[in-house]
């Protein structure tokens, strides 16, 4: 992948402009589709079961609606589709349909001997994705998989759209989807669910509900409100109705909340290492990302414009961003976003704060990007931005704008090598995002992110994104990138403050991915190292800085550790004005350390402090990155097989250990991002 800088070459997904089901579903599909069939008539139930088995589906039969509901609740991702009779003694079929739609967001097919128009219409209005008249023929059952796939597709689309996806993005996303779905299928049907699902996820209701409702964009604020409500109620007791009441947002429907809740749960699961239905996740993320992605796009452009980013690096970035994010961009964004949003309340806050704080400084950076005609999609740009910011961009920005926060300057200076940076940026951003996202809890994403991160490693900044602390929870990986990202943009800090520390564990993994991805890009190697290094231990910016400082690509590539040290020294040498740099370095070290400590949350906290600044940047970057990163995430990663994460984590961990000892010096908990003068 790395070697393919060109657009589309990066993404693991089959690059295709349109989302093709063929890309998504594995050959085995629809075999193994997990169907839950509910009917109080034992004769029908027996026949349906046999028919579905003949279609090679995995069938679970149930003669009571209540039983079915509890089955679904217990095993949220255990089924792909539900077929239910309309008339049942203990519960009306439409009621069950409603419940399922709200709580699990699964496609539901209604069945009945009744073929009266009004009954069929009822099915439609209640959101059934199909209505079968009894007696059901096997031919009718053979195609029910289409409803599952359609839902995935819609969720992907939503995901993309939320991130201001451009056509390019969409393509990438789609290919990403393809990969994503494929991997899900390959991994297991369970993972693909959700969505699943999702995946999702996103058009949550589109598939199941015939009524098109205006899409709700889950902005950061809205999501914060949501999470606050959920926390207040207690995650176990949080029901859409109550959440809705607590949120008290006009125009928000219970359905919106329900589908969002589903995604959120998936995200949380992902954080705790459980694969979640990617669908839901994806769609969810989409929402969160929406608002943030815009920045990313700008960043890249600015960078490009300023000319700071050498065309090459820019291309690389783009390629990386595009390539990686192509498919996953949608996902990474979501992930990242989600991560930030979901994982912690804090992160969100940080975003805001950080953003504001950083805005001043970051703005400059952003401005830089503006000028740059980035082909990368917004998401990617974000990622890039981050990376760039942290790494090379900073330099760029500094140079071009000169004014950019001192940090930037220092960063830029350090970056020195726009090329690598560009790559780094791309990678970093990209990588970050996905990683960050993944940590969010989306199993898929995290994997993907991790993957992306790898590619993004270039942009250690992204990972650093301090704002991402929240991520640290589940997938440190994600956090990792995030932290970096955030740090870089505004400050070198991202390194230190990166909440990603906690994501260290993930980082390890991430790094691996990054490495692998970076390898391709040759030139990126250095960045990769840096990135990994950064991610793991040091704030990405560090590495970049080091690199630039030393202007020694080899150096960078050699070892992150070295970079770290270098960075620190270099930074100092460079006379990095921003205390941040130093602070960052420190934090970076700390971060790295934290990272090593495998996702220590405390780090996140630290990172948070630092991240405040970065948050703003990070958020944007991360988000973008995420989307991008996700894209990169290889299908395998996407799917909640965890393996991706785990691999990454281990990789990261390994790297961490190898990384500069400086990290060890720092106490993770003491990760004093605070020290970093922001």
């Amino acid at each position: 992948m790395n070697s393919n800088i060109g657009k589309g070459s990066m993404s693991t997904a089959s690059s295709s402009a349109a989302w093709k089901a063929g890309d998504v579903v594995p050959d085995r599909f629809p075999a193994g589709l997990r169907v839950l069939v509910v009917d109080d008539d034992p004769t029908c139930l027996m026949i349906l079961e046999k028919m579905l088995r003949t279609c090679l589906y995995e069938v679970t039969k149930c003669n009571r609606a209540e039983t079915a509901l509890s089955m679904l609740r217990e095993n949220k991702n255990g089924f792909d589709i539900v077929i239910s009779d309309v008339h049942m003694p203990d519960m009306d079929g439409f009621k069950l349909l409603e419940h399922i739609g709200l709580e699990m967001d699964l496609p539901v097919i209604m069945m009945s001997a009744d073929d009266g128009k009004h009954v069929v219409m009822k099915g439609v209005t209640h959101g059934a994705c199909d209505y079968l008249i009894k007696p059901v023929r096997i031919e009718a059952l053979k195609n029910i998989w289409q409803h599952v796939v359609r839902k995935w597709k819609n969720e992907w689309k939503d995901f993309e759209q939320s991130g201001s996806v451009e056509e390019g993005d969409r393509q990438q996303k789609q290919s990403e989807d393809a990969d994503y779905s494929s991997s899900a299928n390959e991994g297991n049907w369970k993972s693909s669910k959700k969505r699943k699902d999702d995946e999702d996820e996103t058009d949550e209701r589109d598939d199941s509900s015939t009524l098109k409702k205006p899409r709700v964009v889950w902005s950061v604020e809205l999501h914060q409100q949501f999470v606050a409500a959920v926390n207040q109620l207690g995650i176990d007791k949080a029901v859409p109705k109550k959440i809705l009441e607590l949120m008290n947002v006009p125009g928000l429907t219970r359905e919106n909340v329900a589908s969002h809740l589903q995604k959120y749960r998936l995200y949380l699961r992902r954080l705790s290492g459980v694969s979640q239905h990617q669908n839901s996740f994806m769609s969810h993320q989409e929402e969160t990302f929406g608002p943030l992605s815009s920045l990313n796009g700008l960043d890249l452009q600015t960078l490009a414009a300023t000319g700071q980013l050498p065309a090459e690096s820019l291309a690389t970035l783009q390629a990386a961003g595009l390539g990686r994010s192509t498919a996953k961009s949608g996902v990474p964004m979501a992930l990242v976003d989600q991560r930030n949003i979901f994982s912690f309340e804090n992160p969100k806050l940080r975003f805001g704060e950080g953003q504001q704080q950083h805005i001043n400084g970051n703005n400059k950076q952003i401005n830089l990007l503006h000028g740059i005609p980035m082909t990368m999609e917004p998401k990617q740009l974000v990622g890039l931005h981050h990376t760039a910011q942290s790494i090379g961009n900073v330099n760029m920005q500094v140079t071009s704008h000169g004014a950019q926060s001192g940090q930037n300057n220092s960063l830029l200076m350090q970056m020195g090598q726009p090329q690598s940076r560009g790559h780094i940026l791309n990678d970093a951003t990209v990588g970050h995002a996905p990683r960050l996202l993944s940590s969010m809890g989306q199993p898929i994403l995290s994997n993907g992110i991790a993957a992306n991160v790898s590619t993004r490693n270039r942009i250690p900044e992204n990972i650093r994104a301090p704002g991402y602390n929240p991520v640290s929870q589940a997938s440190s990986m994600l956090n990792f990138p995030m932290n970096h990202a955030s740090e870089l943009p505004g400050n070198i800090l991202p390194l230190g403050s990166t909440p990603g520390m906690s994501s260290l564990t993930s980082k390890g993994t991430f790094q691996e991915d990054v490495n692998s991805e970076i390898k391709g890009s040759g030139g990126f190697m250095p960045s990769y190292d840096i990135f990994n290094d950064l991610n793991q231990h040091k704030p990405q910016s560090w590495e970049l800085q080091n690199v630039s400082m030393t202007s020694d690509a080899s150096q960078r590539s050699n070892s992150l550790q070295g970079n770290l040290d270098l960075t620190q020294s270099v930074l100092v040498q460079q006379g990095i004005s921003s205390g941040q740099m130093n602070g960052q370095n420190r934090s970076a070290a700390v971060v790295s350390k934290a990272m090593c400590s495998a996702g220590d949350f405390s780090e996140q906290r630290n990172a948070q402090n630092v991240n405040q600044h970065f948050n703003t940047l990070l958020v944007d970057n991360t988000i973008r990155v995420k989307s991008e990163i996700v894209a990169d995430v290889s299908p395998a990663n996407l799917f909640p097989d965890h393996f991706g994460q785990e691999d990454l984590m281990s990789a990261l961990l390994k790297q961490q250990e190898g990384i500069a000892p400086a990290e060890n010096e720092f106490d993770f908990d003491g990760y004093s991002m605070d020290n970093i003068p922001e």
Binding site: P42, T43, C44, I47, D114
Partner: protein, 150 residues
């Protein structure tokens, strides 16, 4: 082979069930589901049907003994009965239950009672015929493939 005459007899019996309208295409669907893993699938399903539908028949009987008729309840029972009957391809039985429901909807108690008697008759006839069919099928040995009526 000895089996041939029996198989042929079985095929004739089967065809007449379709020709006389006792069974419809849905029955073929069941036959197609039968395979080596479930060699007696059709018979098992039909047995299950008779066991379950007997309960419904009884419910309707009892409901018809209570005056005035609770047409909603009656319709509900018949809806279920119609569903399972149609899933095994019991054509005549299904037709009777549809008619019964029409009477329920129009509140025609007389029509309901009359139709119900007819339904019970068809239900019993089909059961006898299918039992004979399955018995012969067991003697004749496994069927090769299901053939569509006509």
């Amino acid at each position: 082979m000895e089996r041939n005459p029996m198989r042929r007899q079985l095929a004739v019996m089967r065809q007449s069930l379709f020709d006389q309208g006792y069974l419809d295409e849905q029955f073929v669907q069941l036959e197609e589901l039968q395979d080596d893993a479930n060699p007696n699938f059709v018979e098992e399903v039909v047995t299950l049907y008779y066991r379950d539908s007997a309960r419904l028949i009884l419910n309707v009987e009892q409901a018809l003994e209570r005056k005035p008729f609770d047409f909603n309840k009656l319709d509900g029972y018949m809806h279920q009965f119609k569903g399972s009957s149609s899933s095994i391809g019991a054509k005549k039985v299904k037709a009777e239950s549809t008619l019964f429901r029409e009477y329920c909807k129009s509140g025609n108690g007389e029509g309901c009672m009359r139709t119900f008697q007819q339904l019970k008759k068809e239900y019993a006839t089909l059961r006898k015929k299918l039992e004979a069919y399955f018995q012969l099928a067991r003697q004749a040995g496994p069927m090769e493939t299901a053939c569509h009526p006509k």
